[in-house]
């Protein structure tokens, strides 16, 4: 069995998932994992599938293009190492970092540069633009894994200092507080 990771991009419309998964079915693929979202009007999906050994990425890509002819879709198919392991450093704690403030270029780049320098992995990144006439209500949400062995106070201080420089309010909170408050 081979394992593939397949990304699907294109303008959203009814029938994309039906066409893509029909190809998987016909090629005897099994979907192991999927994440799909719509950003503004664009469809984006990532599938991890396993399939017969005779399949190759180019062939899968061609079959997907043919099945979605006229949809103007873009596909990228890559073979995965079936025994590939996750990125990991050591024990991590899950935190939510939020930034609130006026939108401008380079905000995410500057925040994530600090995270990268501290070996903090971003597992989820979302933008909540509720600003309208109030740019101060633009919020970026970073779900991150912070290694347990780093000096978190120092990380917090660096992030907050960068926030002040960028006119952003930065909050760093353990994920459990959100789950405790919102979920039964």
């Amino acid at each position: 069995m081979k394992k593939f990771i397949i990304s699907v991009l294109g303008k959203d419309r009814p029938g994309i998932i039906a066409a893509v998964t029909r190809v998987f079915f016909e090629q005897e693929f099994n979907i192991e994992d999927v994440s799909q979202t719509i950003l503004q009007a664009e469809f984006s999906g990532i599938f991890i599938v396993t399939g017969p050994d005779h399949c190759d990425p180019q062939g899968v890509c061609r079959a997907l293009q043919t099945a979605t002819d006229g949809f103007d879709m873009h596909f990228h198919v890559r073979l995965m190492d079936p025994n590939g392991s996750r990125w990991t450093t050591c024990a991590c704690e899950h935190f939510i970092i939020t930034t609130r403030g006026p939108d401008r270029k380079g905000l995410v780049a500057q925040i994530t540069a600090i995270l990268a320098a501290h070996n903090v992995n971003v597992t989820q990144l979302q933008a909540v633009f509720r600003g309208g006439d109030e740019p101060g209500r633009n919020i970026m949400i970073y779900e991150v894994d912070i290694p347990a062995d780093i000096d978190q106070s120092q990380l917090n201080e660096v992030l907050k200092a960068k926030g002040r420089e960028l006119n952003l309010e930065v909050n760093i909170q353990h994920k459990n507080i959100f789950e405790a408050i919102n979920r039964i």
């Binding site: 909050n171 909170q173 959100f178 919102n182």
Partner: protein, 457 residues
Amino acid sequence: MLSNSEIVSVLEMLRNEHLDLRTVTLGLSLLDCASDDIKRFNDKIYDRITRKAEKLVMLCDLIGEKYGIPVVNKRVSVSPIAVAAAPFSSDQMVLVAQTLDRAARAVNVDFIGGFSALVEKGIAVGDQALIDALPQALAGTDRVCASINVATTRAGINMDAILLLARQIKAAAALSADRDGIACAKLCVFANIPQDIPFMAGAYLGVGVADAVINVGVSGPGVVKKAIDRAVETNPDLDLQQISELIKRTAYKVTRVGELIGREVADRLGVHFGVVDLSLAPTPNVGDSVGEIFQSLGLHSIGVPGSTAALALLNDAVKKGGAFASTNVGGLSGAFIPVSEDLNISEAVRNGYLSIEKLEAMTCVCSVGLDMVPIPGDTSDETLAAIMADEMAIGVINKKTTATRLIPVPGKKAGEHAYFGGLLGESIILAVNNAQGENRFVRRGGLIPSPIHSLTN
């Protein structure tokens, strides 16, 4: 994966609605420090408190930072000193209070509670010494809080103790006259005192609990108010049942914060986790007020007709939501209506909407009682005792906790301004009916017997 709205709603509560953890209180037993040598006793209790509470403030700050939720107050409560220090004279009791004050400073907690006695059925030697020491102990220290339980549903009301305390309250006010009688703000007189209150001034560690325990007091009046405001803005025709449901859900969220942080502090300190006290505790800040909730519910001001019903609804909904959110609920658990500590409530007094009689009526349906109520300095001992007796009767007959924290402000009359500062706030002095008149009923003394429904065995 958390949703956007889950994350943003928590941020809003923190940013705009004053969500915080009002107090984490470490209860410490001092009973095994007993000695008949005052120096030895003081050394032992100082050592016990400073050793056990050494890391309390640091850990609360650390864990508060981890969750992004400030732990506003870190406090210590101890075994009732009248029991732990029973052999000592009143002068020596003052020395004990000073030792507690020093220990509180050493571990950097703003208040230490437990300068307390339980006298509902009679006054023992240690109780008498502690009560005699109250004025000096309270006026001569900054951080020591006292509580005296004078009544229970099972025992009745000790009227002798109440009259004695009225005199001591007046004496404590006189000793702190330059600060509007602030010493009295550190003394609560109780009926049915719980053993696990985390809030001051009533906190003490009961005799039936473990050596060390963390009790937590949540807050959140601002969160409840904003939740009601948002819901009413979306649907102006919300009925009271729907609002009650909304308050329950909000109280659930607020309580979860206390449960999560309290348990972690207890784990890190290696002590038991006690209770979450589900009280809506205000501060003298706009947006952090229990009084403002009454306006959100549709009343012109706290104190106008409808206030008791509104408070009943609020108190009940907070308990229901909070009880579901916590494994151990205790303490006072209800809405506080401390007059000087709540900007909106003190405004209601200033505007003439709230009298001491209406406050008393409202305490029938909420926790605590006549809390942080400044009254004229020339209120007689007997009238002061009578006000306390009325409040105790409400607690005893209704099988609930009630208390008074009355401040006869020296040299000032009804309508004048009393200022205590900080969390204790400020207020117009409330008028008292028959303030200087005699009261033969109170003077008779003795015990008002326990009610018939105390015979439950």
